[in-house]
């Protein structure tokens, strides 16, 4: 890692801006076990998740909690043949590595919800880097802010959601 942060954004990072990258399918279909476990973790008794009759009448059958959208793309911690731990938001980790910023936080998170996600759906995703800031210094350290969008669609190519993250990658202040 170089001592000084380069003021100019590397060409490779400039090339990522505005491009859809990491087109992926989920590692497993949407399943009810996670839906119930997530509802349980926040004591969400909404009957559309627990009562099939209610779900049929209101949502046309069982659905997942909308805020679970990113869960379906968090990779298994281990999988056969995998030699390196997979990361759920690879663009973020690419930026940390390329810009030599070992620490990072996410500050803002916006989620927009489209078609409901249903058990059995196999979702698709891609990631878009929208912007990277100039070098900034905050109380955490010196680094750059970036905006990343993660787009989600179902197997029918219907929009099911999008997440926008603002991250700050930095080196700790001495």
């Amino acid at each position: 890692m170089s001592d000084e942060l380069a003021a100019e954004l590397p060409e490779v990072v400039q090339g990522w801006i505005g491009k859809e990258r990491y087109h992926e399918e989920g590692e497993f279909p949407v399943e009810r076990g996670y839906i119930w476990t997530t509802c349980s973790s926040v004591e969400n008794g909404n009957p559309i998740f627990w009562n099939d009759e209610v779900a049929e009448e209101i949502t046309g059958g069982p659905i997942a909690m909308p805020t679970m959208i990113s869960l379906w793309f968090r990779p298994h911690l281990w999988a056969p043949g995998r030699t390196k731990q997979a990361q759920p938001l690879q663009v973020h980790f690419d930026l940390k590595e390329t810009l030599e910023l070992p620490e990072a936080i996410m500050s803002d998170n916006t989620i927009v919800f489209g078609e409901p996600v249903r058990p059995g759906d196999l979702l698709k995703t891609c990631q878009v880097l929208h912007s990277v800031s100039e070098i900034k210094t905050t109380k955490l350290g010196t680094g750059r802010f970036w905006d990343i969008e993660v787009r989600y669609a179902n197997q029918k190519d219907e929009f099911v959601g999008a997440e926008h993250y603002t991250g700050f990658g930095y080196r700790r202040s001495e």
Partner: protein
Amino acid sequence: MSEKITQLTIDQVEEGSPIPSLSYDVTATTVVLGALASRDFRPMHHDRDFAQIRNGVQDIFLNTPNQAAWFERYLTDWTGPKGRLGRIKFRMKDSVYPGETMTFTGKVDQISTDEAGCAWVDLSVNLAVGERAVTDCTARIAVPRDADDNPWQRKSDRWKP
């Protein structure tokens, strides 16, 4: 439907009004269950030594996706099951740790109807621990216009979150 369901309709919502608060005593189990339910295996959400030594914080803390699930639960507890979340934005300023009581409070900022006829409520929601503000959130949720309306039946051009 055999289950008795309470459902809010838009005529019962008033701009500027607070919505009922929710308080919850957080334990280590809350944090670990929330992290694993959301498939977040990062150690700061289950390993106190890592959280303290690497992150420099007092303990393991509630992860982001689980906070989002808490916000959703808080909002749909208020609307009833036909309430359909369109958009949620949150900014984390601090963390929630085991042993703390977190409290959600919310206020109706705006009521509107879009060109497709969907009734929307925009709210400000705050998550705090005592006097300490943890997360600020804004949310947009569709609420039925009347007993016959159901936002979940809206698709494509009729759903504009």
